[in-house]
């Protein structure tokens, strides 16, 4: 089946991001496809490229990137939710006159319309929330 995941919670503060990652790996291991992880609300924090958790804790940002590389999963971040929380890719940083950026590929900033699109197009959408 084609799955999508909607993630609404910040990493580290709630278990939701860990739960989502564990669910993602398991559904892939069962032979399903994970088309997209959509990051909304505090979930956009999963795209923070500077995240530096202690060495003995899972590195969620890197884990999502690895998942995307290995399985072709799109990592879509709601742009409106990201901008107000300080998560900008190089293009948005330039557009807002900011030096530096906080989001990099494979995470991509995108509109909320994508969430509706994948939610209706995929066979299953599973939400993980705070």
């Amino acid at each position: 089946m084609r799955y999508a995941i909607l993630l609404l919670a910040a990493p580290y503060t709630n278990q939701a991001s860990h739960s989502a990652l564990r669910f993602a790996r398991t559904l892939l291991a069962r032979g399903h496809q994970l088309e997209t992880v959509f990051f909304y609300q505090e979930g956009v924090q999963n795209a923070a490229r500077l995240a530096s958790p202690p060495q003995d804790e899972p590195h969620l940002v890197d884990a999502w990137s690895a998942l995307s590389r290995e399985h072709g999963t799109a990592l879509q971040v709601c742009i409106a939710a990201a901008l107000r929380r300080g998560l900008l890719d190089e293009r948005e940083a330039a557009r807002h006159g900011k030096q530096g950026y906080s989001v990099e590929p494979p995470f991509e900033l995108t509109g909320l319309g994508q969430l509706i699109d994948i939610g209706l197009r995929c066979d299953r959408l599973i939400t993980f929330a705070p």
Partner: protein
């Protein structure tokens, strides 16, 4: 048949009431994260009427030291079983 998930303890949050209100007569409820506390025998009363349709996630029970203490009427599944539940259900609704 839909799968509902709940991740907040019924001891802390009233959201379980909303999950129950929105469940159809065949729908299933899976307790995950802090909601697995609800599988303890003393907290089962919040979930009456769900006999045979109430599940709890093993990994979250184990991490919390609660695996051996669940009410026998709760069906314990691992993450693989969680994915299976989402396969079997038409869709999934998450309560938090």
């Amino acid at each position: 048949m839909l799968l509902h998930t709940l991740n907040r303890s019924p001891a802390t949050s009233r959201v379980y009431q909303q999950a129950l209100a929105a469940m159809g007569p065949e729908d299933r409820l899976l307790l995950v994260e802090d909601a697995v506390q609800g599988a303890l025998p003393k907290l089962m009363r919040y979930f009456t009427g769900l006999e045979g349709r109430l599940f709890a996630l093993r990994e979250d029970l184990v991490a919390r030291g609660l695996e051996g203490q669940c009410d026998p009427s709760v069906q314990i599944v691992d993450v693989d079983g969680f994915v299976l539940l989402t396969e079997e259900a038409e869709k999934t609704v998450s309560w938090y």
